[in-house]
């Protein structure tokens, strides 16, 4: 059944991702009535599928790549719903929903079969570690999208082109708020996620854990993340420079993700 729920979720993400295009880009508000329920249904089925998947695997956290991607997709889908409800804009769906659909597509049609052997696999701490870091990544992605939307809207306003009142782009201040608030949400998630991961790894692996490339990159990512929030808050960085900064941090996140291939700790080999 898990795969069926996941496939339904993929289908609904796809419908929502398509419906959001006319709703946002062509000013057809009726499509919103398709996009929103579809996205809500997708998130619901996705959650059910993920819970069943983890339950069936007798572990509480997404450990293999497919499960992790799936959970990130779920977080992005949920983030879209929160943004659409709080700010009454479906624009973020143009980016978030296709990404959520793609991240769910692989586990739905090619479920992973990794055999895992890790002492703390069944504890809630590792689940928290992974979930919090994924939430931080999702927040960073949203912040990047918001900064890009800010840039587009800023350019349009400076070019003085007439646009309908109901444009797909949210007002500048709204996108700026979303960018900053998502970063502020992501920071405690990232901090707590890294701390939990460090404590668990120290107990199971020992100080050698700190020599792991992924761990070192993660710490660097945290420092840059904090620096970015500091700069944004204290100088009110917006527009092009904000996009560059968010893009830079996002590249580090991708590097951290890719570092799984080099990491001993994160490949879940028994210590």
């Amino acid at each position: 059944m898990t795969l069926l729920w996941l496939r339904i979720a993929v289908l609904l993400y796809g419908v929502a991702a398509l419906a959001v295009l006319p709703a946002a880009l062509y000013n057809r508000p009726r499509w919103r009535h398709i996009a929103m329920p579809s996205a809500l249904g997708a998130v619901f089925f996705h959650f059910v599928a993920l819970a069943e998947m983890l339950n069936a695997a007798h572990h509480a956290l997404p450990v293999d790549t497919h499960e992790t991607l799936s959970m990130l997709g779920l977080l992005l889908g949920a983030a879209f719903l929160i943004l659409a409800t709080a700010y009454r804009t479906v624009s973020f769906g143009i980016f978030l929903l296709p990404v959520a659909a793609l991240l769910t597509l692989v586990p739905a049609f090619r479920p992973g079969a990794e055999v895992l052997d890790y002492p703390l696999l069944h504890t809630g701490w590792l689940f928290l570690h992974v979930a919090l870091l994924l939430a931080a990544y999702a927040a960073l992605l949203i912040s990047l999208i918001a900064s890009l939307l800010y840039l587009v809207q800023e350019r349009r306003l400076k070019q003085k082109r007439a646009t309908p009142a109901r444009t797909w782009l949210p007002p500048l201040e709204t996108t700026d708020q979303i960018a900053l608030k998502s970063l502020l949400f992501g920071l405690p998630c990232m901090t707590a996620g890294l701390l939990i991961g460090s404590v668990v790894a120290l107990e199971t692996i020992g100080p050698a854990f700190f020599a792991d490339p992924k761990v070192l990159l993660s710490l660097a990512m945290w420092v840059v993340y904090v620096a970015m929030i500091y700069i944004r808050r204290h100088s009110g960085l917006r527009g092009r420079r904000a996009v560059y900064l968010s893009g830079f941090v996002f590249l580090i996140v991708l590097a951290v993700w890719a570092a799984n291939q080099l990491s001993v700790v994160h490949r879940f080999k028994a210590p």
């Binding site: 000013n27 306003l157 003085k160 309908p164 444009t167 500048l172 201040e173 709204t174 100088s235 009110g236």
Partner: protein
């Protein structure tokens, strides 16, 4: 059919901004306070069954349902004008338009959808039609014909608003400025406006922004007394106002989110000033609405990050582009209205025939049931009552006979109706 059951004729008589000059419209205008009394009075005119009055600054219209037999319909409305408003009919007649049946329906749908307005797509007209409808309902001036028609007009207007973008863009300078401000700041709640200089258009733009939620207004003028007068005039319990001495303008500008400038005294805001301004605002955006000629803000300021400068030509250009866009949307809206009016007219035209067919079927059915009951009673008296199964069979037989006998008459009625409509 009695006179009351006979279908009435829909008649619309009125003047609007295209047919009558302002002085005529002024004389005909009925204030909201007197609308109930006027509607009651119009509905009480001989030959009028239902009535509704729509009175706005751009139109005065009398929508009525009159007796079909009455051949002097427009005269009734003219009599009303003469009696109630004390206006000589000769003064109004050249400006009046008279629309009947489907044309009246189409016109009403166009009015409610804001296609007949001076500024096409403006949203106020729908509210005004609804107000007239409410008043007419309250005084009992509308019933079976106008009430559903008005409700349909509201649905059509809603459809037009939903399916087209006829009202989505602003077409006046002041509303374009307010719309642009919303694109920058979203909600204008708690935003501060700075008026530099004074003028009618800057006042209007400020009022528009205040309507959108701005709560603080600062005024700066070379003549401080004038600035104080403007601030006093715009101060309300919800709006905080203040005066900035002109010499301190650059020291205080950072307090404002939106700067409306209209001094025409040369470039008061140069890129260097604005760079410092944005720095003091910690990169928060600032919107310059420069309606001065010559311009008060150096156009290069628009290139600075966080500064948005729109001069009078820019605003005018956006308004014109919006107007073109609105006209395109109006074409789509016209086809929606046309289709809906045809549908409604068709339904209305079929109503008398449908009613006649219903009456014919109902009388024949009553006759059939009476005969069936009498026959059943007779058989019971002969000690040969019908069993329930037999009763069902006989019932079916009589119904079938009745339908077959009525069929030619019904077809004939429908045929006559179609012919009449084609002839019309």
């Amino acid at each position: 059919m009695s006179d009351q059951t006979k279908p009435g004729t829909l008649l619309l008589v009125g003047v609007n901004h295209t047919t009558a000059p302002l002085d005529v419209r002024e004389r005909l205008a009925i204030p909201v306070g007197r609308l109930a009394d006027a509607t009651r009075s119009l509905a009480g005119q001989p030959g009028i069954r239902e009535a509704l009055i729509l009175s706005t600054c751009n139109r005065v219209e009398f929508l009525t349902v009159i007796e079909s037999a009455n051949g002097v319909e427009p005269v009734t409305a003219l009599n009303f004008l003469h009696e109630y408003l004390n206006i000589p009919t000769a003064a109004v007649t050249p400006h009046l338009y008279t629309l009947r049946e489907r044309e009246a329906i189409r016109h009403l749908f166009r009015v409610a959808s804001s296609l007949d307005s001076m500024v096409v797509g403006e949203p106020q007209i729908l509210g005004q039609v609804k107000e007239s409808w409410n008043i007419a309902r309250e005084v009992g001036a509308i019933s079976s014909m106008l009430d559903p028609l008005l409700q349909r007009a509201f649905s059509v207007a809603k459809r037009v608003r939903t399916e087209t973008q006829i009202g989505s863009s602003s077409v006046s300078i002041a509303s374009v400025a307010a719309e642009l401000a919303r694109k920058i700041f979203g909600s204008l709640a708690h935003k501060t406006i700075l008026l530099v200089g004074a003028g009618k258009m800057s006042d209007l733009a400020a009022k528009h922004l205040i309507q959108q939620g701005a709560t603080t207004l600062l005024v700066s003028n070379r003549t401080e007394a004038r600035a104080e007068r403007i601030a006093d005039a715009l101060r309300t319990p919800e709006i905080t106002t203040g005066v900035i001495p002109f010499v301190q303008l650059h020291d205080q500008t950072h307090r404002a989110d939106i700067i409306i400038t209209s001094t025409g005294a040369g470039q008061i805001f140069e890129p260097d000033d604005c760079r410092a301004l944005v720095h003091r605002r910690k990169n928060r955006p600032v919107f310059f609405i420069d309606i001065a000629v010559p311009r008060d803000v150096n156009p290069a300021v628009n290139d600075l990050e966080g500064c948005f400068v729109y001069d009078i030509d820019d605003l005018q250009q956006v308004a014109q582009q919006n107007q073109v866009q609105r006209s395109r949307e109006a074409e789509t809206a016209e086809s929606i209205v046309q289709l809906e009016a045809e549908r409604y007219g068709e339904r209305l035209a079929q109503a008398p025939t449908t009613e006649a067919i219903k009456q014919l079927q109902s009388s024949a059915d009553a006759l059939r049931e009476a005969e069936l009951a009498r026959t059943a009673q007779r058989l019971a008296n002969l000690n040969a009552p019908l069993t329930p199964e037999q009763h069902t069979v006989v019932e079916h037989l009589t119904r079938s006979l009745m339908n077959k006998l009525l069929h030619p008459q019904i077809m004939s009625l429908r045929g006559t109706d179609t012919k009449r409509r084609n002839d019309d």
